[in-house]
């Protein structure tokens, strides 16, 4: 890290001919030219693509690592050496963290190689699952080793920033709000969308296509566009007697999220229900099911993969949603995490407590990370859902 900084400094002082040959920008140019050249040879193309992808992944992982490690440090440490949260793992003088860094590199290499070394042919699915879970386990161990090493390398009392974020900055409350709203709106969306999608894909009735197209057209409406009309509308929809208003209410936000999530979810699930064989419904009808029982007992369980995918996408969308939450919630006790994080940032303008902010980021990000870790297969399956029939 320091070498690069020195070079940048040297360059600003006026580059000598040697300096300009190895300055960061020229090196970047060399690298780009090399990549382009390698791309045009069929033998080097694949390794090169893998190398570029690995760099990309490494960059992403390092960014996350930087956030997490910084959130465990002190503010003073961060202000003086913001890069040290990462550089300590590559600095041979910091023996503990350097060793941890080496170990993590080895673990990542092992993760990458694992799928190639273990033969996948017999017991394909089971072995693929084993490889996947081993990879996840290895990744977690590597991350854990890094964090523990950082902790003992002077990033002590890591929980201090988290305590500040959760208790002083109310991130805990925001997390509860976010969880209630996300879970509530996902349940509502799935419930209504699955029934609508079932009807649209399996029943014949007048106006079916019109309704389906109306929902699909809804996909094209950006949320920002309906923000103002929605605001004006909901402001008038109150029940003063019951003390209920859609404004400043978690329930109101749940309704908004469900409504905006419906077009995509219905679109996804209509395709999914449509791909299930119609004979099952006929068999159920003869076995004694009415239309609703056919849906609940036969098609809903069979659509589980599609419904899981829809639930994940909706959850991620709602969990990270910012605009609606900002506009419709003004009561500080009802804020969601993304809005809360922004408030935390703004409120610290003159006495920044960076580790606490980073701790807030980690709190916001952790559930998403967990979902990706556990439901990776469904998410990937969802990306191609409906693209190949059968």
């Amino acid at each position: 890290m320091t070498i690069w900084a020195d070079m940048l400094a040297a360059q600003s002082a006026g580059p000598g001919w040697l300096g300009s040959l190895v300055s960061p920008w020229t090196v970047l140019t060399y690298a780009t030219v090399t990549v382009v050249l390698l791309y045009f040879s069929s033998r080097t193309r694949l390794p090169m693509l893998y190398a570029v992808k690995s760099l990309w992944v490494a960059g992403t992982i390092l960014a996350f690592l930087w956030v997490v490690v910084t959130s465990m440090g002190s503010n003073q440490q961060f202000v003086q050496h913001p890069e040290r949260a990462i550089s300590q793992f590559f600095d041979p003088h910091q023996r503990l963290t350097f060793a941890a860094g080496l170990f993590a590199l080895l673990a990542v290499a092992a993760m990458v190689l694992m799928g190639r070394i273990l033969p996948a042919r017999p017991l394909q699915v089971r072995r693929r699952r084993a490889v996947l879970s081993l990879r996840i386990a290895l990744g977690c161990v590597a991350a854990g080793v890094l964090l523990v090493a950082a902790h003992f390398n002077g990033y002590g009392a890591w929980y201090a920033s988290y305590a500040t974020a959760l208790l002083v900055a109310h991130m805990g409350e925001y997390a509860v709000n976010s969880a209630l709203i996300a879970v509530g709106s996902v349940l509502l969306t799935i419930l209504t969308a699955s029934m609508a999608a079932y009807a649209l894909s399996r029943l014949t009735f007048a106006g079916r296509d019109a309704i389906l197209y109306a929902f699909i057209a809804g996909l094209a409406i950006p949320g920002q566009l309906i923000l103002v009309p929605l605001f004006l509308m909901l402001r008038h929809w109150t029940l003063p007697a019951a003390g209920f208003s859609f404004m400043d209410s978690r329930f109101g936000l749940i309704l908004i999220y469900s409504a905006t999530g419906l077009p995509f979810t219905i679109f996804l699930l209509t395709g999914f229900f449509g791909s299930l064989p119609s004979e099952l419904g006929e068999a159920a009808a003869i076995d004694g099911c009415g239309e609703f029982a056919t849906f609940r007992q036969v098609y809903f369980p069979l659509a589980a993969p599609g419904i899981t995918t829809a639930a994940i996408f909706n959850f991620l969308g709602v969990w990270n949603e910012y605009n609606f939450a900002l506009v419709f919630i003004t009561n500080p006790r009802l804020k969601t995490l993304p809005v809360g994080l922004y408030t935390l940032n703004v409120s610290q303008q003159y006495a920044a407590n960076w580790p606490a902010l980073f701790a807030g980021i980690v709190i916001l990000w952790a559930p998403t990370f967990l979902i990706f870790l556990l439901l990776q297969r469904q998410i990937i399956a969802g990306l191609t859902l409906g693209s190949v029939k059968g």
Partner: protein, 379 residues
Amino acid sequence: MARVLLEDVSKVYPGNVKAVDRFNLDVADQEFVVLVGPSGCGKSTTLRMVAGLEEISEGRIRIGDRVVNDVPPKDRDIAMVFQNYALYPHMTVFKNMAFGLKLRKYPKKEIEERVQEAARILGIGNLLDRKPKALSGGQRQRVAVGRAIVRQPKAFLFDEPLSNLDAKLRVEMRGELKKLHRKLMTTTMYVTHDQEEAMTLGDRVVVMKDGLVQQCAPPLEVYDYPANRFVASFIGSPPMNMFTGDLLSEGGHLYFVEGPGNRIRVPDRHREGLGRYAGQAGLVMGVRPENVSERSDGDFAGPDNALNVEVTVVEPLGDKMDVFVKTARHDHVCCRVDAHAKIEEGQKLPMRLDMRRVHFFEPGETGMNVSLNGASVGG
């Protein structure tokens, strides 16, 4: 168990497409009726109307003593077996079979007993805990049948249940279905496009084409006395040979002229029925392959029953031999002869017909069998 009665049942699809045209059928209690025909003939549609999966455009369907036109499938008390089995993939075999009983709120103990009994009959007792995915085609078929019989319905409906199985398994399951029917004696309607299945299974066979019933009779009657040219060529394998020719009246006898030099004398008992076609061109004579032989004794004794042919292909089958021959006008005539008959490819010889089993049809694809009039063909 009950009688199933279809009265003038029609199915009209949007665009005025008639899938089934005034279908009449009286399936007696405990009877096994097979609907057979080429694809698109309306046989499945008919079955699905009985099941309640298709609306009935015209006519009435009775199951037992109740008109079921407006009764939803679940209240018709019938059970259906589908071509692709339609087992619920997320349920075990036991739950698949118990599903219908559970929905009808049978006590747990009775469900258990009935499923076990059905599993015993079908020999799938050891599979009850498996999911359909873990079963072979034949096992899935058994489960589908099991799901139908546990309900003890008034009627079974089978929609091409064996066509997804391989040939050997199909024959085996066919036998088992027949045995099962003998045991349970439940009224059954069975749809297939396989004429062999229709012949072996049915008490009665209904041959359909383009939404119309062509003939409805016991299997052997359909085989021996086909009502028209379509039935004659659809039932039987290899199919009946059809010769187009002219009918001449000469010296008090009728002659069918297949081509130059090939004159067949029509048996006298057909004179009355065929007389009005004399002098007319384009009559069709049908002979089944097994009723053509190189021999000239017994059933094949003359007079004037020989066609001069040239052998094109000889196919020994082991127990029989299929000899394909051509005449001047007809390229593809199949004769099923004795396995050890001395016939070689390229040989020219007279082939004789068993005149008791020769049919004459009016021109056209569904030309009436005019040789049925008055006299029986089979003797």
